[in-house]
């Protein structure tokens, strides 16, 4: 575990950069992390990030890419254009939730 200061707050991150405590997350932090990744967050990015967070808060786990493609309103093709380093993984990190565990 490491700590990092984001938007003036000490945030606890795991070795892969995912939030240890999703309740520490703010939207400003997502923008900050995205900028560090070289991503500029568009409305579409936010649509995915918000969906990830909602699913996590409801179900306790982030959605798979299949679920994202079916239910987030963003197609799988587009998801990979928005998050070229892997949509479920990247969006989960930006949304301050744990890395999705499934194999799909």
């Amino acid at each position: 575990m490491t700590t990092m200061t984001m938007s003036g707050t000490e945030v606890r991150l795991n070795a892969e950069g995912f939030f240890e405590d999703p309740s520490q997350w703010t939207r400003e932090m997502a923008t900050e992390m995205a900028t560090a990744d070289g991503l500029t967050l568009s409305d579409k990015h936010w649509q995915v990030i918000d969906f990830m967070r909602r699913e996590f808060l409801e179900k306790g786990t982030g959605p798979t890419v299949r679920v994202l493609g079916k239910a987030s309103g963003v197609s799988i093709k587009e998801l990979y254009q928005l998050f070229p380093t892997g949509p479920a993984k990247t969006a989960a990190r930006l949304a301050g939730i744990p890395k999705p565990k499934g194999c799909i």
Binding site: E16, V65, I76, G86, P87, T90, I104
Partner: protein
């Protein structure tokens, strides 16, 4: 995270046409893309059934010659056994959010992975480009495959 260099590209060969022969390669290709790696899929020999327009929805579990089915070989030969085992496995996979093969192939193509048919097998089985689902980019030779795979890992299934 380990300090070893990360895998950034995989080329996966699917050579078998049974359900248990096809899924592992698809799951690995999809997983590679999900991790941000480049991925190519190369279908050869009976693996071509996974991209064949009319056979893609009829992929079955092999109930004969498979000791891990834990049933006597003779039982596995009974009519309907393979269909039954396939139904059971499909149900379990759907519960785990693993899509049916046709949807999985579409999904993997949408992730940006390249899907290719092996020329030698296509010629041997007397197939043509229009026998395949539209997600297949091309029919390529083994030489083309090695060119595509350059700089990455090759996985044979």
């Amino acid at each position: 995270m380990n300090t070893q260099e990360k895998i950034t590209k995989v080329s996966i060969i699917i050579s078998k046409g049974s359900l248990e022969g096809i899924y592992p390669g698809l799951i690995m290709a999809n997983g590679a893309r999900a991790e941000g790696m480049e991925a190519n899929l190369f279908f050869t020999f009976f693996g071509l059934d996974a991209i064949h327009r009319s056979r893609i929805d009829r992929i079955k579990v092999a109930t004969v010659g498979n000791p891990a089915m834990h049933m006597p070989t003779l039982i596995g030969t009974l009519p309907g056994m393979s269909a039954l085992a396939t139904r059971m496995m499909n149900k379990k996979m759907e519960a785990l959010d693993i899509p049916p093969i046709r949807e999985f192939i579409e999904m993997i193509a949408d992730t940006g992975a390249g899907l290719y048919a092996c020329k030698a097998s296509v010629d041997m089985f007397g197939l043509a480009a229009d026998d395949f689902v539209p997600q297949v980019k091309d029919t390529i030779t083994v030489g083309d495959f090695y060119d595509l795979a350059a700089g990455g890992q090759i996985i044979f299934t």
